[in-house]
């Protein structure tokens, strides 16, 4: 497979403007003749669908939720970055670009990241115009705060519910187009296959989750904005339904999957409280602005935190990383917490957390100010743990949160299948090996509002005069048959264990062996274990009920089956990448003081894996990465 990044020639500051001028346009009368399918209604999907419809294209949108407003972007808490430099603290487009490339540990494409930084300022304008109630100063101007891995304050936020407010903005823009008749919306409908004809994406096969009806939909282009694959770990901060099925089915139809081993473990989540745990709850990274992280100096210190004097506490991040302190990037903070817990300094009933303490912030700022900043997060913590964080420090521990890897896309966000575009977390594009806080919302909206409407138009311009492929085409028929067959297989399996039973077991393997620290032996074991568990799953999964009505187990069975294949690919990718970078930490490759040791000479590339058929290992393709503006150096936050 040839991977053409399609990055235009020229100075990085002018690439996107130049490219926009060079891209072909579709005149308003012709736009009506084109239909675009958008799968997923999170930030990237809803914003792309609304924007394309505003342009005049016919847009068909699929969501497995009951309403587009439920997509998991809604749960993002902390904020969204933009290089507005409202604080006059030295921020600029170049600095946001620089921070993101560095934060990503030099494994992202410079041109994409630069464009992201440029567009960040337009996103804030757009969202404010839509009525997103961002936090404001008393003078009425927008307020900012700081996030991990940066030294400026460029994060815009709406209390602890920034994702909710941004998603509602995009959802409302989408619903406005539904009302205008420009968007046809299919809620409770899950994409189960991508249909290609002559190597181009021409449509999708979907299942109506309420009636079980399987149907085909054709279009001139397909956009996947279906999120990340963090739920491969079973326990993660992702919503329960978040899954990789749409992306994985596209992968099986020829879309390369890039850097799957780049997964992000978020340092500040509420620790698990027992075996029944069904998901983990994130406590926004913004808390690290005012909270101080510590553990008792003594192992197995059973005293309550209030009884441990200052001198017997280890504020280990402030000690190890004096320049960034509690605001080191996520990967660094997560590994540091894991080491403290592994060394027996963990806190809480299961000794599986570290403290995040607001005592000194409350003394400095007063409780009302802390309430103003983090009130809803404190409330949420109290509700889940039964402990009041104004009185006693929060307990936190890392959990899977985001996946930097995803379907490979070029500069136009088109996958290796012409006509298949991928936006948001579902693509691999902008965060390299580690994403900085408040950058996911930025990327989702940059892709959806500003990149895809332009690049999809350019692609469609080349199809002028061609109708969409009819759904009676053999490729659609075969795809429907395959999906129907899979549904029937699960229902007639007569196994003994539930889908969740297998998902938990898979998650256990992935967390233990492809989690925060990885070794060659561990990864090999993981591949063996995954493969044998997958055999058990196929033989022994029990899916009750019918395919003709709402059936949660049936939906989950298909998603977990894809997680098995994906988990195997994560291990394979992690095994081949003989270096540590960002979220991928190979124990064999670390510096003397335990930091990630990158190998730029041998691994400065995007690993794009190509499907070779059921049961065969994927083929590795490499897209070399070049760094002209941000020179790779060991990331130092000391």
């Amino acid at each position: 497979m040839e991977l053409k990044s399609a990055v235009p020639e020229g100075a990085i500051e002018e690439l996107w403007d130049g490219h926009r001028f060079n891209m072909r346009l579709v005149n308003p009368a012709n736009k009506r003749r084109f239909n675009v399918i958008v799968v997923g209604t999170g930030l990237a999907g809803a914003s792309a669908a609304a924007s394309l419809a505003e342009l005049g294209y016919g847009v068909t949108v699929f969501s497995y939720h009951d309403s587009p407003r439920r997509a998991h972007s809604i749960a993002a808490q902390g904020g969204i970055n933009a290089a507005k430099n409202y604080q006059n603290d030295g921020d600029s487009v170049f600095r946001l670009f620089y921070d993101t490339v560095k934060g990503g540990d030099f494994r992202s494409r410079e041109a994409n990241v630069y464009r992201l930084a440029q567009l960040s300022v337009n996103i804030i304008d757009q969202c404010v115009a839509q009525g997103v109630p961002f936090a404001r100063e008393y003078g009425g101007q927008l307020e900012n705060r700081s996030f991990g891995g940066v030294q400026v304050s460029r994060t815009f936020y709406a209390r602890g519910q920034t994702g909710q407010q941004l998603l509602l903005g995009a959802y409302q823009a989408l619903m406005r187009q539904v009302a205008a008749g420009a968007v046809t919306l299919y809620p409770r409908t899950e994409m189960l296959d991508l249909v290609t004809v002559d190597g181009r994406a021409v449509g999708v096969t979907v299942r109506d989750l309420q009636t079980g009806e399987i149907s085909s939909h054709s279009a001139h282009a397909v956009i996947l904005a279906t999120g990340g694959y963090g739920n491969v770990y079973y326990l993660s901060t992702n919503a329960k339904k978040s899954n990789a099925t749409a992306a994985w089915r596209a992968h099986k139809k020829g879309a390369a999957f890039a850097n799957p081993c780049f997964t992000q473990i978020h340092p500040t989540c509420i620790p698990a409280s027992g075996e029944h745990q069904s998901k983990l709850t994130l406590m926004s990274e913004s808390l690290r602005n005012d909270g101080r992280i510590w553990v008792p100096k003594d192992q197995n210190d059973a005293r309550s935190p209030a009884d441990i004097p200052e001198a017997e506490r280890d504020y280990y991040l402030e000690r190890q990383y004096p320049a960034y302190g509690n605001l080191v990037p996520r990967d660094v903070a997560s590994r540091a917490a894991k080491r403290q817990v592994d060394n027996g300094r963990g806190v809480g009933p299961l000794k599986n957390g570290v403290y995040l303490d607001f005592g000194s912030a409350i003394d400095r700022l007063g409780q009302p100010e802390i309430e103003e900043r983090y009130g809803n997060l404190f409330e949420m913590y109290d509700r889940i743990t039964g402990e009041d964080p104004y009185e006693t420090p929060m307990r936190i521990y890392p959990a899977t949160h985001y996946t930097m890897g995803g379907l490979w896309v070029d500069y136009n966000l088109m996958s290796s299948i012409p006509g298949l575009f991928v936006g948001g977390e579902a693509n691999f594009s902008d965060h390299g090996a580690n994403r900085l806080g408040a950058s996911a919302l930025m990327q989702g909206l940059a892709d959806g509002y500003f990149v895809l409407p332009n690049t999809v138009s350019d692609y469609l311009a080349g199809l002028l005069g061609q109708g969409a492929v009819g759904t009676d085409h053999a490729a659609f028929r075969e795809s429907r048959a395959e999906v129907e067959d899979q549904t029937k297989r699960y229902l007639s399996n007569q196994g003994t264990h539930s889908v969740d039973y297998f998902h938990k077991a898979l998650g256990h393997i992935v967390w233990e062996k492809i989690g925060m620290e990885r070794t060659a032996t561990g990864l090999q074991e993981a591949m063996r274990d995954i493969s044998s568990l997958r055999e058990d799953f196929r033989r022994d999964v029990r899916v009750l009920g019918s395919g003709e009505s709402l059936n949660d187990s049936l939906e989950k069975a298909g998603r977990v089956a894809d997680f098995f294949d994906l988990a195997e690919l994560i291990a394979r990718d992690g095994l081949h990448r003989e270096e540590s970078c960002g979220g991928h930490f190979r124990v064999e490759h670390q510096t003397e003081d335990g930091e990630a040791a990158r190998d730029d000479e041998n691994f400065s590339y995007v690993a794009a894996w190509e499907w070779q058929g059921e049961g065969k290992p994927q083929l590795l393709n490499k897209e070399p990465l070049e760094f002209e503006h941000v020179h790779p150096a060991q990331r130092s936050y000391k």
Binding site: H65, S67, I74, L142, Q164, M175, L544
Partner: protein, 256 residues
């Protein structure tokens, strides 16, 4: 703790439904209410009985997917708490808990505890937005918004669209939901050009699907985001004003 659950089971929109009784054993007080349903479902699957269908997703109180009547209360006994964040420390060993779907004619039942809340989307479609095409926005700090205004808009914008307000209302009214969105947009300077169209259109769409508000007030206590019924007063005022404003706006008013 051990609990007895009386759960509404109904295989489809037109099927006959009934309560079934299930035992939930060894429940930890750290579990969420949905995790109890998970435990019950695992047991049901083991016994070859179809699991209880219930809506859920983020499990952190923000997506608005979940929501059931627990002992007759929308989202159960926790104050300002969605079902997913209701933890079992509010219950005690031996409790018997009745679990039903949202009860409202405008939310037709799909299966077991899952209902269709798409009428909410119809209300948003009718005007719950600010019309600004991508690319046409002005510089964000050009229009200062007083912090108190922005905060009040945010208070209303926190609505998660779960439907607890409708389910808890004796009239099955959606006033709290509609008013919260209207307040959010009508307060902001950006929302002014469409204010009167929005007010009329959203209220009239709401009336098409839902019952009418009689200021019973139950909704604000059921609301997991604690949205106050003050927003309803604001909605009524704006609706009333919209009658004359839209007439005056003439050609710029509603097309209907």
């Amino acid at each position: 703790m051990n609990l007895t659950l009386k759960v509404w089971r109904q295989t489809g929109p037109t099927a006959q439904g009934q309560f079934e009784t299930y035992e939930a054993r060894d429940i930890s007080e750290d579990m969420s209410f949905l995790e109890v349903l998970d435990v019950v479902n695992e047991d049901l699957i083991e016994r070859g009985i179809e699991p209880i269908a219930f809506e859920h997703d983020c499990r952190e109180g923000i997506c608005g997917s979940c929501g059931v009547m627990i002992n007759g209360q929308a989202h159960g006994p926790g104050f300002r708490t969605a079902t997913c964040q209701l933890h079992m420390r509010l219950f005690k060993d031996g409790d018997s808990i009745t679990v039903e779907p949202w009860r409202a004619a405008s939310f037709p039942l799909i299966r077991d505890l899952v209902v269709n809340r798409s009428a909410f989307d119809r209300i948003i479609e009718s005007g719950g937005f600010i019309s600004v095409n991508t690319g046409s926005a002005v510089e964000a700090n050009l229009i200062p918004i007083p912090k108190v205004v922005s905060d009040a808009a945010m208070d209303a914008a926190e609505c998660i669209g779960c439907g607890a307000c409708v389910a808890s209302c004796p009239n099955g009214a959606a006033s709290l939901f509609t008013a919260a969105k209207m307040q959010h947009l009508n307060l902001l300077p950006q929302g002014q050009s469409e204010r009167w169209q929005r007010s009329q259109s959203m209220v009239e769409t709401m009336e098409e699907y839902f019952g009418s508000c009689t200021s019973h007030g139950e909704c604000q206590f059921a609301c997991p985001k604690g949205i106050s019924i003050d927003v309803i007063a604001y909605m009524n005022r704006d609706y009333l004003k919209s009658m004359s404003k839209n007439r005056k706006l003439g050609g710029q008013g509603l097309s209907t």
